[in-house]
Structure formats: structure tokens, C-alpha cells
């Protein structure tokens, strides 16, 4: 008999007033008892609506059924068949817009906590199973993967499992892409990312850090001189956007990318770090996405009084509901219908305040969201000594500019078909480099699809 409770088992978390002063993980994960109880809320629907909401079609009812029986390792196996990064996705997927929003239980009460169960199963596996995956028999073919973020890791993992000799090229000194430089420790502990990368290495994947494809070596050189038969580009969308308003280059103004990279990749939050970061005493974050929430919550943890200014209302915030909730609990103040027009400076070239125009909503725009329009002569000035611009990113043009025959969209995204094939033979692409900034799971799905396509291409060559 299923558990008919209308509510999910609550996720144990660090208390807001404690966690807003440390960088340890906020959500602590289900206990075994909670996982068993939550798994029993699943009705095991025949038509599996949840699976249709999953970008990589994990057989969700099947893994939950095993979880309910206490067969956690079997549950892990089922997830692993479709997902390369279960411990990561269980933490950062926007389940409320994916699997969980299709859950029948959600029609009356809360849906099954699918993400929380995924995380439990993955963490339990990682804690108990320390035998690394075995290296598959080599098929003698070489593939290159550019970028070690979610799409690159997924593609590399699937290719390696098929026996390919895979080398991943990473521009930074640490693998993981946005999982390492972007998402903060308190949401995604870096040891989880490193564990996934170690698993890939056990499968035989080589990771060459400090190699900037397009600068250190070109795609054509990889294919013509170094013997790679196919290339997957998963270079992400790492180029920060700015608003082009006055004062944006003042000291104390960061792109969210820079702020988060200093903290996550360079560990600037640790007192003995060689890399500095200054969140100031009062920080204003501009934007309403997950990256804005991450930036705000980091600034808060560094001791700043923290504000988020967003030009629409709470309803339109693109961030995950859980992140918004957590941010509020941690004492972050939201200023809605507020749009920066200028950043003012003190006499030393540091940020002193940010001037914003009040907005109101009108008709929906191209994105389907109500369009914010300025209210004439309605301005507010917020004193602050740090501003973090978190208004989106676009694909890095480095590879586009250095690869002949690689077609891109006007806005910079690489043009690729359903399988990820680009305009260049044997060159595939996926993830944010193709779609623009999206989610970890979509990028992972694209990487897996391309791995399949690359396998077919090389087999039929």
C-alpha cells in the first residue's frame, strides 16, 4: 500500500542562520528511513508521466520501486543507465519543471521527491561503493572532447564505456566546467564533482587541463595531426554579459562569473587563499536566475548585507523555487520591478551606490513573460560597495573564431542537428555551446546523444 501522505518528506537542511555563515552543503540529504518512506509515495504509474519530463529519460518509477524495497544499489544501476552524473543531477536539476511537475501525486498535494531520492541513491552508492568502474576493452578509436562540464563529461563517459580512447581538453586547471567554477560548494560539493571525474578516469578517459582548444591547439590539428577521429565540443556558455550602463567598470563591480570563479574555483572564501574576493559590506546582485541566487548567497556568506534587484516580479524569477526560498531564508532581500541604470563611484573609483529605475509589467514579450517597462522619473538609489552582474552568459567565441567551417548562430551558438552534428564533418557539439545557457541535465543529455551519434559515425566510416 503506497504512502498517501500529501507532503514530501522534508529535506533536512542546515539552519538558515548557521548556513549563511559557512560554505558547507545546505541540504543534508535524506536518511535511509526518509528515503524508504518517500519512495513508498510513488504510485508506480503504468504510463510513467515523470519519465517524459526527464531530459535523459531515467526510468524513474523503476528506480523508486527498488529504493522502496531497500535495493539501493539496484536503484543506482537503473539511474546510471540513463544518467552520467546522478549525484550532481539529484542536487541541481530543476525537478519542479521536469519529472516532478508531471508526477500524478502532484495533482493533489506534493509530487514524489524524485530529485531527493535520486540524490539519496547516488550518495549512498558513492559512500559504500569504492570500487572504481572497470576500464572497458579498447576499440582502438580516438575521440576528443572539448570542455569538461556536464555535456563533455557525459559524452566522454559514454564514449569510454563503448571502448573509445577519449581525451578531454579543459582550458582551466581543474576539470568540471560550470560544476567546478560556477555552482557553489554549498549547493554542489566539489568532492562530488571530483568523484565523478575520477570515475571517468577509471574508465580510461584522459583529461588534459590547461589546454585551450582554439589557442593551444586547433580542432583541425587535433583531427589531422593528433589522430582524433571525431570531436565533441562542449565548451559551454561562459562569456558574461554586462548591461552597458555607466559605472560598470568601477572597482567592486563583478560579473557573476568572476565572482563565483574566485570563490568556487580559486577558493577565495577560505581565509588562507591566495586569490582575493571582495563582497563588501553591502552587495547588490543584478538578475533573477540561479546564478544570481548563487552569487547572492555567496556574498551573504562572505558577510555582506545582500540585495537582489530584478526588473520583473517574483512570479517571473527564472531561478528554481528552492533556491529562491533558500536565499530568502538566509536573509537576502529582493527588490522587484527595479532595473539598474547607473553605478556611482566614490572618489577612489569604487562603487558607492547603484541607481535603479522602477518598472511596471505590461504585455508578454517574446519570452512569454510580462515585459517590464520603466516608470518615468521613478528612481531609487541603493548604497552599496559591491555590484554583481548576473544577467546571463553567451557562448565563448574562441572556438568559432579559430575553426574553419564551423557554422554558428548570430548570437554565437554553434549550429548542430538533433544528434549534435555540426557543419563540420566528424565534429559534434552540445550543451550550452549550442543552446545558450541552460541546465546541467540538458547539457548532459546532449553529450550522451552525441556520444551515440559519434559511435555510429565511426562504426560506419
Amino acid at each position: 500500500m503506497p504512502n498517501m501522505s500529501l507532503e514530501k518528506n522534508k529535506m533536512p537542511v542546515q539552519e538558515p542562520d548557521v548556513r549563511n555563515k559557512n560554505f558547507s552543503e545546505v541540504a543534508l540529504g535524506y536518511t535511509e528511513q526518509q528515503a524508504l518512506d518517500e519512495a513508498q509515495r510513488c504510485l508506480n504509474c503504468k504510463n510513467k508521466p515523470c519519465v517524459s519530463g526527464c531530459p535523459v529519460q531515467i526510468d524513474i518509477p523503476a528506480f523508486i520501486a527498488e529504493t522502496a524495497k531497500g535495493n539501493f544499489e539496484q536503484a543506482y544501476k537503473i539511474i546510471s543507465e540513463s544518467s552520467s552524473l546522478p549525484a550532481v543531477c539529484g542536487r541541481v536539476c530543476p525537478q519542479e519543471n521536469q519529472c516532478e511537475c508531471k508526477c500524478i501525486r502532484g495533482k493533489k498535494g506534493e509530487p514524489v521527491g524524485i530529485g531527493r531520492l535520486e540524490r539519496f541513491v547516488a550518495d549512498r552508492h558513492n559512500a559504500l561503493c569504492d570500487t572504481p568502474p572497470e576500464k572497458p576493452v579498447s576499440n582502438g578509436h580516438k575521440c576528443a572532447v572539448i570542455g569538461s562540464g556536464p555535456s563533455g563529461l557525459a559524452c566522454a563517459g559514454d564514449l569510454a564505456k563503448k571502448g573509445y580512447d577519449v581525451t578531454v581538453f579543459e582550458a582551466l586547471h581543474t576539470a568540471g566546467g560550470v560544476l567546478s567554477y560556477g555552482i557553489p560548494e554549498f549547493r554542489l560539493p566539489k568532492n562530488i564533482v571530483q568523484r565523478e571525474i575520477e570515475n571517468l578516469k577509471s574508465l580510461g578517459v584522459k583529461i588534459e587541463t590547461n589546454t585551450i582548444v582554439g589557442k593551444s591547439v586547433s580542432i583541425d590539428e587535433l583531427m589531422n595531426d593528433e589522430g582524433f577521429e571525431a570531436v565533441f565540443i562542449g565548451s559551454g556558455a561562459g562569456l558574461p554579459r554586462f548591461m552597458n550602463i555607466k559605472g560598470e567598470n568601477l572597482n567592486g563591480v563583478y560579473s557573476a562569473n568572476e565572482f563565483l570563479t574566485r570563490i568556487n574555483l580559486m577558493k577565495a572564501y577560505k581565509p588562507d587563499s591566495d586569490t582575493p574576493v571582495k563582497a563588501g559590506t553591502k552587495a547588490v546582485i543584478v538578475g533573477g536566475g540561479n546564478v544570481a541566487m548563487d552569487s547572492a548567497r555567496c556574498a551573504r556568506r562572505l558577510g555582506a548585507e545582500t540585495y537582489i534587484v530584478y526588473r520583473r516580479t517574483e512570479k517571473e524569477l527564472p531561478a528554481r523555487a528552492e533556491e529562491i526560498e533558500h536565499a530568502k531564508e538566509e536573509g537576502i532581500v529582493f527588490q522587484f520591478l527595479t532595473n539598474p541604470v547607473e553605478i556611482k563611484s566614490d572618489e577612489k573609483g569604487w562603487v558607492k551606490s547603484i541607481v535603479c529605475q522602477k518598472m511596471q509589467l505590461s504585455e508578454p514579450d517574446a519570452s512569454g513573460r510580462a515585459k517590464p517597462v520603466p516608470i518615468p522619473d521613478a528612481f531609487v538609489e541603493i548604497d552599496c560597495d559591491c555590484v554583481i552582474m548576473s544577467i546571463g552568459t553567451s557562448p565563448n567565441p574562441l572556438i568559432k573564431n579559430t575553426t574553419d567551417g564551423l557554422d554558428t548562430q548570430k548570437w554565437g551558438g554553434i549550429i548542430a542537428d538533433e544528434d549534435g552534428l555540426t557543419s563540420k564533418t566528424a565534429v559534434y557539439a552540445g550543451g550550452d555551446a549550442v543552446t545558450g545557457a541552460a541546465t546541467v541535465i540538458l547539457a548532459m543529455g546532449a553529450g550522451k546523444k552525441s556520444a551515440q551519434a559519434i559511435d555510429e559515425y565511426i562504426k560506419n566510416k
Binding site: F242, N249, T261, K267, P276, G349
Partner: protein, 280 residues
């Protein structure tokens, strides 16, 4: 790991290192830079490529000891390895169509100016070099500059070597004596480059300045290296590091360069104390 194959002290605060980094050596050009970390917890710092040897796979860097990382770097010796060494980054110096160029370097910036002068000289361009240092103990690469320049002027702040005065004094003299340059290329402290650019603007000589702002990744990802050029925001790492000197907002660049100065001083002191303790 990237082995230090050679280490030479050029003056008490400036060191040259040859690093084994075949991928970088294969692609590096004058004007480009690399990013390195000395150890696993180290910060990323950009340094301009001073020379390269494609055959032996080495890249030469020259650095001044100014902060914690350069202090740590200077404590490494031949046979030690750098933890990370990535590049080449940025755009190479543009040399197309140049016939006569004045290269103006200041202090450790001469380490970056020299490979540019050398490349131009190899291309058959007539090179006049004007280099300035605070005093005679700080002079670097004098012979090297002489070898690639048809005219060479050495300036020092205190007159202990060469002529007493600023590089701008020497450059003004050259221009006023009738030297016509297709381009002036200047590399050195921001304040020096600012005044070089003011001078050449007066005489309408196209001028390029090589910028070395604070950056993290060097690939366009962080935007920390942004500067204003002709009213537009540019990223030094991907759009530069060389820009039209007459369009750069040097005052903004100087303010941005000072952003972490108290932190840097503190970090440097801490590292120095650490090394001192090790010695005791």
C-alpha cells in the same frame, strides 16, 4: 607538470625562467601571454611570453617579484615544476605593413617589449628602442635590445645609467628630430604608457599599448580584465592585450589595477615571512 629548465636572475627583483610547455611553445607568438599557477592552491597570474623555442618545446617568462605568487615563483629552481601553465592567450602583435617602429619599454615591461622588437627586426622592420629603468641596477636585456635596434636609447630616473630622464623625453626628442614612425609600441607601467600615448597623440603617431590587467581565466570568461577603449568595454584577454593607445581609458585601468593592492601587499608579506621562517 611544467618543468623549469633554466632560471636566471636578471636583476635583484626580475627573474627569467624557461619552462617546458610544448603545446604553448608550438603556438606562441610575440605579444601573447600565458597563465600560470605555482602550486595547487595558488592563484592564476598572467605573464607575457618573453620568448619561445618551438623545437625544444620551451617558453620563456620574465617576471618581477611584486606579490605573493611571483615571490613563490621566484623560490622555485631549475628542475622544479609549475603546477599549471596555460596558453598562449590573447592576440599576437600585429606587424603587417610596418616599416619603422619605435618600441618604448619601461621597467619589467621591457621583457615584453623585447620579443616584439626582436620579431619586428626579424621581419626587416627598422626598430628604434627606447627603454627606461629607475636606476642602473634594474637594467635588463640591454644587449638584446641593442642587437635588434638600429637606434637604442637607455634612460634612467636617476641618471645612474644612460640619460637621465623619462622615456617620453627621449621619444619626444626622436620625433622632433624628424624620425617618422609608422607605429609606436609601448609596454610598461600604466602611468608611463599613458604619457607615451599622450605624446604620440600630439604628433599623430599611431600607438599600441600592451595591457596587463588583473584576470583569472584568460579566455573571456570572467571579465575581470575589462577596460574601456574608445568608449567601449573590451576584455584584455581575448580582445587584446594590445590596444590603440590613443583610445584606452588609462585612468580607469589604473584604478582597476589597484583594486586588490592592500590584499596583495598583505599576501606578499605573509609569503615572505613564511620563507624567512623556513630559512631560520
Amino acid at each position: 607538470m611544467f618543468e623549469i629548465l633554466e632560471k636566471i636572475s636578471l636583476n635583484p627583483t626580475v627573474t627569467l625562467m624557461k619552462i617546458y610547455a610544448p603545446r604553448v611553445a608550438k603556438k606562441a607568438e610575440a605579444g601573447q601571454f600565458i597563465i600560470l599557477r605555482t602550486d595547487e592552491d595558488g592563484e592564476r597570474i598572467p605573464l607575457t611570453v618573453a620568448d619561445y623555442d618551438r623545437q625544444n618545446g620551451t617558453v620563456t617568462i620574465i617576471f618581477q617579484i611584486v606579490g605573493a605568487t611571483t615571490e613563490k615563483l621566484n623560490h622555485l629552481n631549475q628542475g622544479d615544476c609549475l603546477h599549471d601553465f596555460a596558453g598562449p592567450l590573447g592576440r599576437a602583435t600585429e606587424t603587417d605593413g610596418l616599416k619603422k617602429v619605435a618600441v618604448v619599454g619601461g621597467g619589467v615591461g621591457c621583457a615584453i617589449a623585447y620579443p616584439v622588437a626582436k620579431k619586428l627586426s626579424n621581419l626587416g622592420v627598422e626598430v628604434h628602442s627606447v627603454v627606461g629603468f629607475r636606476n642602473k641596477d634594474l637594467v635588463i636585456l640591454e644587449d638584446e635590445f641593442r642587437n635588434v635596434s638600429s637606434k637604442f636609447v637607455l634612460m634612467s630616473d636617476d641618471g645612474s645609467v644612460g640619460e637621465k630622464g623619462l622615456v617620453t623625453d627621449a621619444l619626444r626628442k626622436l620625433i622632433e628630430s624628424g624620425e617618422k614612425y609608422d607605429r609606436v609600441i609601448t609596454i610598461g607601467p600604466l602611468i608611463m604608457m599613458k604619457f607615451v600615448c599622450q605624446l604620440t597623440k600630439e604628433f599623430d603617431v599611431p600607438t599600441v599599448a600592451s595591457m596587463n590587467p588583473i584576470m583569472i581565466d584568460g579566455t573571456g570568461m570572467c571579465g575581470g580584465c575589462r577596460l574601456t577603449v574608445g568608449g567601449q568595454t573590451k576584455f584584455a584577454c581575448v580582445d587584446g592585450p594590445e590596444f590603440d593607445g590613443h583610445l584606452i581609458d588609462f585612468d580607469e585601468a589604473m584604478a582597476r589595477g589597484a583594486m586588490y593592492r592592500p590584499f596583495e601587499r598583505n599576501a606578499h608579506d605573509k609569503v615572505c615571512n613564511l620563507f624567512k621562517k623556513e630559512c631560520e
